[in-house]
Amino acid sequence: MTTASEAPAIGLTHGGSEDTGLGHRGPESKSIVVPYGFWLFVLSDMVLFSALFASYATLAHATDGGPISNQLFDRNLVAIETIALLVSSFVCGLAMIAAKRANMIWTQGWLLVTGLLGFVFLSIELFEFAKMIGEGAGPQRSAFLSAFFTLVGCHGAHVTCGLLWIGTMMAQIWAKGFQPHIMRRLLCLSVFWHALDIIWVAIFTIVYLIGTLP
């Protein structure tokens, strides 16, 4: 490791004591680069969701004489879903703290609670979907319902992937311990899980609360 003052004063580096972030220290370690790359993925995922939100907002009143949002959505169920996912996100943070201290029992325990709460969320969502489709309010009924099932279903699919990922990480931690590459994956998982909660905040506000205003 060269000191800052010995850094070559050519090309893009300024030399001297100022760190320009332009690479004279060499690349960052994997423990920085990998989660940062995953952070970029999560942000692009949010861009994807913004397109689904935009189409939902455009089509929200295109009900084709079918059921409107006021008749379909149950705020109590949404409240339970919201709490489940929020607490799940919180517990995921606790799992990260336990993992940082290489505490196997607490890490596995908190990850299990995270996954169970995510499962509660997903079950309620699927119950709601099944109920709506049973009432003839499926995605083919109107443009509004197509947009609704695409947006909320896409979030549900993400949660499903997250649940599979949580299970995989529990198995990997159990089998391989708290090695650096396992910790990187765990950090990416927590970023993913927190991001899903952020997207859910937008969904319950725009779709369920604003959609059911009197």
Binding site: G21, R25, I32, L43, S50, A51, T58, L86, I97, A202
Partner: protein
């Protein structure tokens, strides 16, 4: 420059803070704030005390506030120099999200208003 200083120059997003009190505290504060904001959101949407047309705007503001809480207390995005890269990426993401959402809603609303189409068509209803 020592190894330790090098490590401090960047942190990955979502990494817990350095000591157990402050990191657990961060999650607990975040959970409490998020619960409060969620509760206020559901209350605002249910009550008839507030001025009707303002409720939707208030709900959006509450949602953005809660997203901020999640970013700061769960994902640990801070304004510190070790977080510059994370913040810049986030700022770009937010820019694109707002361009896509506000741009779409704006254009579609004006198209509906200006094209002079019948209500059935402007409503984008599916025709059988």
């Amino acid at each position: 420059m020592t190894e330790r200083e090098t490590e401090l120059l960047n942190v990955p997003p979502g990494a817990p803070h350095s000591n157990i009190l402050s990191e657990t505290g961060s999650y607990i504060i975040g959970l409490a704030l998020a619960l409060i904001l969620t509760g206020v959101s559901f209350w605002v949407a249910s009550t008839s005390v507030l001025w009707g047309p303002g409720v939707a705007v208030g709900l959006v503001v509450l949602a953005i506030a809660q997203m901020g809480v999640h970013l700061v207390f769960f994902l640990h995005i801070t304004s510190g120099p070790d977080n510059t890269n994370n913040v810049l990426a986030l700022a770009f993401g937010v820019l694109i999200v707002f361009l896509v959402m506000i741009g779409t809603i704006w254009i579609m609303a004006h198209m509906n208003a200006n094209m002079g189409m019948s209500p059935e068509l402007t409503n984008l209803q599916m025709q059988h």
